[in-house]
Amino acid sequence: MELVLDNFIKVLREKNLKISPSETLDAVEALKTVGISDKNTLKEALATCLAKSREDKNQFYQCFEMFFSMSKADSNTQENNENDEKKVISGPIADMLSQQSLEELVGAIYQSGNNVNIQNIRLFTQRGVYTRRILEDLGIEQLRNNYLMERSKE
C-alpha cells in the first residue's frame, strides 16, 4: 500500500502540487490511521495532508478519483489471477478474454503496468516498448504457444 501511495504522490507532483517529504510521512501516518476500508474517508484524510490550497484540493480530488478507481480493480483480481493460473492450461488472459470480464482484464493490465514500472515512462516514443513489456508480463508468449498447440492438434 505504501508503494501505491508513493506512486500516487508522484502523480500529484506531476500535477504541480508541492509535496514535501514531511507531508509524505503525514500521508503515510494518515493512511495507517484511517485504513483503506472507506474510500471517501481515505480521500479526505489524504487531502488534508497533501493538498494545501483550494486549487490543490480540486486537483487532488480529480487525481484521486482517476488513480484509485483503477487500483481497486487491481486488488480484486490479484487473487483470482493466481487461482486461474493453477487451474487452466490456456493461461489467465485467455480465460479473462473468453469470460469477457473487463474489470479483471483492466486489473491485470494495471498490475502488469506496475510490474514493469510504467510510472517511469517519460517520452511518447517509449509507448511501444512499454506496451510490449506489459504484454510479456501478462503472458502473451504463453498464450501464443497454447494457441499454436491447439491449432496443431486440430
Binding site: 500500500m1 508541492k18 514535501s20 514531511s22 507531508e23 503525514d26 501516518e29 494518515a30 493512511l31 495507517k32 490511521t33 484511517v34 485504513g35 483503506i36 476500508s37 472507506d38 471517501n40 474517508t41 479526505e44 484524510a45 487531502a47 488534508t48 495532508c49 493538498a51 494545501k52 490550497s53 483550494r54 484540493k57
Partner: protein
Amino acid sequence: MQKNSKADSKEPIVKIQKKLFEADYIASLSIATSIYLAEKLGKPILIEGPPGVGKTQLSKAFAKSFSKSLIKLQCYEGLDESKAIYEWKYGKQLLYLQMVRDSLKREHTSLDPKASTLQHLEEFEDIFFNESFLEPRPLLKAISDPKGAVLLIDELDKSDQEFEAFLLEILENYEISIPEIGTITAKKKPTIFLTSNNTRELSDALKRRCLHLYIPYPDASLERKIITKHLPTIKSDLRENLVSFVQNLRKLDLKKVPSISESIDWARSIILLNSGVLDKKTVSETLNVLLKFQEDIEETVRELPNLLKN
C-alpha cells in the same frame, strides 16, 4: 495489514460528527476526518475558506463538545510576541526590586566597599527572570494548560509574516523558547486551529506543519440541515425556498455573496417578521440582512423575478 482496521476507520469519525452535532455544528466528512487526524497525528489544523462558513465556529464547537477550555488569539497587523506569547510583569519586578533594595540597605548600613555588595547582588540576579514574573499570553497559556486546551489562532492572514515565523516553533514541537528561562514544552498537546480568509498567501513552511482543511460554501442539503439545526421551528417549505434562493444568489456575480451565518440571520429575521412565505415584498425588505453592499442589493433586486421563480 489494513484489513483489521476496517471496523475502527469510520467509527471514530462518525462519533466526532455526532459530538459536534450536539454542540450545534454540522460537520461534513472532510471536516470530521481532519479533526480525527489532527488528534491522532498531533498536528494543528489550518482552516481556510470564505468568511462566514463556520471556521471559527468549528473550534468553538470542538472545545464545547470535548469540554476543553478555548483560548483565542485574534491576529492583527502588528501583533507581536508580548501580546501573543508572554510578557514580563514589569510592575511586579519593580516592586520586588524595591523590596530587595530595602533589605539590602538594612543589612549593609555600614556601607562597605563595592566588593561584597556586588557579591550580594549576584545572588538576586536570576530571580528577576523567574516564571512568577511571567505574564502568560494566549500561546503560553495554551501550552501550559495541564488538561490540553483548544487554541484558536484566528485570522492568521491578518498578522505579519514575522509573526508567522514565531508560530512555527509552537506548531512544530509544541514548545516555546523564552531566552531568559529556557524552553517550555507542552505537558499535554493543545489542539490548535488556525483560520485564514486568504487575504494573503500563507508561507509554505507554515502550511507544511499543518493539516489543511478547506471549508467551502455548503451545498443545498447541508445548508438545509444547518438551518434546521439553528432554527428548529422553521416551516419546511419556507426553508426550502430560502435555501434555494441563497444558493442561487451565490451564483450571481456579487461583491460579497451571503455566507451561512448570514443566511441563518436572514431566516431568523423572516421568522421574526412573521411572514411565512418568501415573496417579493419580504425579500426586498430584509435583503440588507443577507447582503452587505448597496450595489449587491440593487443587483439582486433587479434579478428578483428570476430568483423567486423557482
